[in-house]
């Protein structure tokens, strides 16, 4: 494999690992604020219980997100120097604003939020919790501005191969930004909703009948049930926006080769770039035309429009985009089914969590990570769907890659993969370990020998 593909895999692995954790912390920050305010409002211990458990998950996820994020900011320089050299005038300020308005805010107030509960007045602690949640969301905003600009660049002009900003308003509110931002924030909300419910369902199944667990199963499923239809709607709008600005991506998502009317909705197929057609296709007639153009004879773009006269392919690799998209949609459907059924069953005769059959609670456990699957699949769809461009129409991925020897990239890639695999399994293991401990009612944290307990400084839980 050459430097380009290795660097791409490395960045892909890095950013895939990274996004898992912000996806949790963006929404979990707000959920923690919700728990805290509910406790302040009702005085009900269950909300404090929920806060205490989930703030640990938050702290762990936050640390994972921070360290994997630092890695990415360096990889721009080590692996993709062409990116900053070419569009640095645009990307630079956006990244700088992210660091200044978001990173510091969340990092500083996280300390007070985690360890300051007994050291600062209640209002300052609540304010810190708010600022951490706000900071993570701001961070998402700036990074999605930059990412969206790479898909739908606007507000700039090229001089000697370097982009110069002409209109910052147009850069920030570039055509795909609002759609992508909403889609991602909802994705974060859904990820947390199913994580809340899934991990709490696990506690319920191993015998935890505390009010805190009841509250988090309910909260999770309710958030999920509210957000999933909104997400389907937002996804549809985002798709139409992509159709307008990056038709080749939509063509790959749909597995449609020829531009034309009456394009079927392909449910399953194996796209074949050799024959430039689909193998084993199962499709609904006129489906894609209906969804994308709201009319059975609407004209849908096909991949063959994006092949140059000399045969150079200018559309993304079809199969990864095609399958990622289907995985995302299927996961979303599973979320819809689970959350709506659960909310219905809990509301029926007001039975709450007791109204849920056991298999359903079991189904929630693996679904704890459904948000991760959908988020990753969605990002693969949009990012692979941008290829061969790094910045659509401005800079190709190939032109930005560093001239680092392939074996060097391969060696760092292997190290990263090993570490990520180890950390991911440790992370999931600890989530369930914390859940088991909480169920047993033990304090979560290192146990001290009884005699020393009073004298010894206990480190952070």
């Amino acid at each position: 494999m050459d430097t380009l593909i290795l660097s791409r895999i490395q960045f892909g692995a890095n950013i895939s690992f990274h996004i898992l954790f912000p996806t949790i912390t963006i929404a979990l920050g707000w959920v923690l604020l919700f728990f805290k305010l509910r406790f302040a409002g009702t005085g009900d211990q269950k909300w404090l219980e929920a806060y205490r458990f989930w703030v640990k998950v938050f702290a762990l996820s936050f640390a994972m997100g921070v360290v994997s994020g630092i890695t990415m900011s360096f990889q721009f320089g080590t692996n993709w120097p062409g990116f900053m050299e070419s569009v640095g005038n645009i990307a630079g300020p956006l990244l700088a604003y992210e660091v200044m308005t978001a990173f510091f805010l969340e990092a500083v107030f996280l300390g007070i939020m985690l360890f300051g509960m007994s050291k600062v007045p209640g209002w300052l602690h609540t304010l810190s919790t708010f600022l951490v949640a706000f900071g993570t969301t701001m961070s998402a905003f700036w990074i999605l501005v930059l990412n969206s600009w790479m898909h739908t660049p606007a507000g700039f002009e090229m001089r000697d191969g370097v982009a110069f900003a002409t209109d910052w308003w147009a850069i920030i509110f570039n055509p795909s930004m609002p759609y992508r931002l909403v889609h991602m924030l909802l994705a974060s909300g859904l990820t947390v909703a199913f994580l809340l419910a899934g991990l709490s369902a696990f506690r319920w199944l191993i015998g935890d009948r505390s009010d805190g667990v009841r509250a988090t199963i309910k909260t999770g499923m309710t958030i999920g049930a509210i957000l999933i239809p909104l997400q389907i709607l937002a996804g549809d709008f985002h798709g139409l926006n992509t159709l307008e600005h990056q038709p080749q991506k939509v063509a790959a998502m749909e597995g449609n080769w020829e531009t034309g009317p009456n394009v079927p909705l392909v449910l399953f197929a194996i796209p074949n770039e050799e024959t430039r057609s689909n193998d084993f296709e199962i499709a609904i007639p006129n489906g894609a035309s209906l969804i994308l153009k709201h009319s059975p004879d609407g004209v849908v773009p096909g991949l063959n429009d994006f092949v140059a006269e000399d045969g150079t392919v200018q559309h993304p690799p079809v199969a990864p985009v095609f399958f990622s998209f289907r995985i995302m949609v299927a996961t979303g459907m599973a979320m819809l089914l689970l959350s709506w059924t659960a909310v219905f069953l809990m509301a029926r005769k007001r039975r709450g969590v007791e109204g849920l059959p056991k298999p359903m609670l079991w189904a929630m456990v693996p679904m704890a990570f459904s948000g991760w699957v959908a988020t990753l699949a969605g990002w693969y769809t949009t990012e692979i769907g941008r290829q061969p461009w790094l910045v659509q129409g401005v800079l190709t991925t190939e032109a930005a890659v560093a001239d680092v020897p392939a074996p060097m990239v391969a060696s760092t890639l292997i190290v990263y993969l090993v570490i990520y695999a180890a950390l991911l399994s440790a992370y999931i293991g600890v989530l369930f370990y914390l859940a088991r401990k909480a169920t047993k009612g033990e304090p979560i944290g290192p146990r001290m020998p009884v005699a020393e307990e009073a004298a010894v400084t206990v480190a952070a839980e």
Binding site: G77, A107, P446
Partner: protein, 336 residues
């Protein structure tokens, strides 16, 4: 934009100053918490918890200064960013792996089953060592103008060791400030053991930089610069003597002067930093690319500068708030 004359001149300078400030703050702040990690194997189990407690609320924000520094380099000097980071590809990777290991170990050591705690403590130590050593190595390579020869490699290995010892020293002085009892006494002993790293490190850099670059030599050893700059090494020497005297008397019975070693070390780091900044100006890649050649378009720099002028004081303000909230001796870290 013409308020202060040609923006193509003063904007790069302003950003070089900001970059320098971020690096300096990073080296001091993450320096002490990396140093605490480097000292980990010398502490017993309970002391380790206290050591973590002393840096727990701060480490994340401390590392953010690194992100800001690399961000400014990337934003303001894109071509230098590419040149430096591709030349330092492997040490950067080692540093990143180190940062990952130590960052997650903070959390895992207390959240994972107790039987895994020792392993996460080891990961914390190894991660801290990897980070400190690779940063020292990169510092050496940078001073040597990013040229790879047997000599520059050897020099970089030396700076790697010295910077790691220097971090352990500032970490130990932090612990003198933040702890009490046996651990504080131990920290004084660690400081005495680590001060030579600072002395030799500053010495090695001071001797080597003028020797490898005629330009740096001329900047320091011509008249009247030599006399104007003389206070820098003299003050450093005086501080080191004072530090040594203080360390021999600490800890005092009423804990007075526990702050002194840490404060003096910060000043020492600042002096060393100014010496280096003076040597390298106006180059951002030593003797290859100047800050003016590497700078981004003025209109991009300007929009960042406006934000920075508003946001940086706020960052400094709430950083001060956090250090005030967690002032005094480190106590048990708990979420309650």
């Amino acid at each position: 934009m013409t308020l202060f004359g040609d923006p193509a001149i003063w904007l790069p300078l302003a950003f070089a100053a900001l970059l320098g400030l971020s690096i300096l703050i990073y080296v001091v702040l993450d320096g002490f918490d990396l140093g605490v990690g480097v000292l980990f194997p010398f502490a017993d189990k309970d002391e380790k918890d206290s050591m973590i407690a002393s840096i727990g609320p701060f480490w994340d924000a401390n590392e953010t200064w690194l992100v800001l520094a690399i961000g400014i380099l990337l934003v303001a000097f894109p071509s230098a960013h590419g040149t430096i980071l591709t030349a330092l590809y492997l040490p950067v990777a080692v540093m990143l792996v180190g940062l990952i290991l130590r960052g997650v170990s903070f959390e895992f050591r207390v959240k994972a089953p107790i039987s895994h705690k020792a392993a996460w403590d080891r990961a914390f130590y190894i991660g801290s060592m990897m980070t400190a050593l690779s940063q020292g190595y990169m510092l050496g390579m940078y001073i040597m103008g990013l040229q790879v020869t047997a000599f520059t490699l050897a020099f970089s290995v030396v700076t790697a060791v010295f910077l790691t010892v220097a971090y352990s020293f500032i970490g130990a002085t932090w612990l003198i400030l933040k702890t009490e009892g046996d651990l504080q006494r131990k920290a004084v002993a660690w400081s005495k053991g680590g001060i030579w790293g600072v002395v030799l490190g500053l010495g090695a850099i001071s001797v080597a930089s003028p020797l490898v670059s005629q330009r740096i030599f001329d900047k320091w050893f011509s008249m009247p610069e030599f006399f104007l700059l003389l206070p820098l090494p003299l003050m450093s020497g005086a501080l080191i003597v004072l530090l040594w005297v203080a360390l021999r008397r600490l800890p005092t019975s009423d804990d007075s002067f526990a702050w002194f070693p840490f404060a003096a070390t910060i000043v020492l780091f600042v002096l060393g930093f100014f010496g280096m900044a003076y040597s390298f100006y106006p180059f951002i890649v030593p003797d290859q690319i100047t800050i003016y050649e590497a700078a981004s378009a003025p209109e991009s720099l300007f929009i960042i500068l406006i934000g920075t002028l508003f946001v940086l004081p706020m960052i400094l303000g709430y950083t001060a708030l956090a250090y005030t909230v967690f002032r005094g001796k480190a106590t048990a870290l708990s979420y309650d």
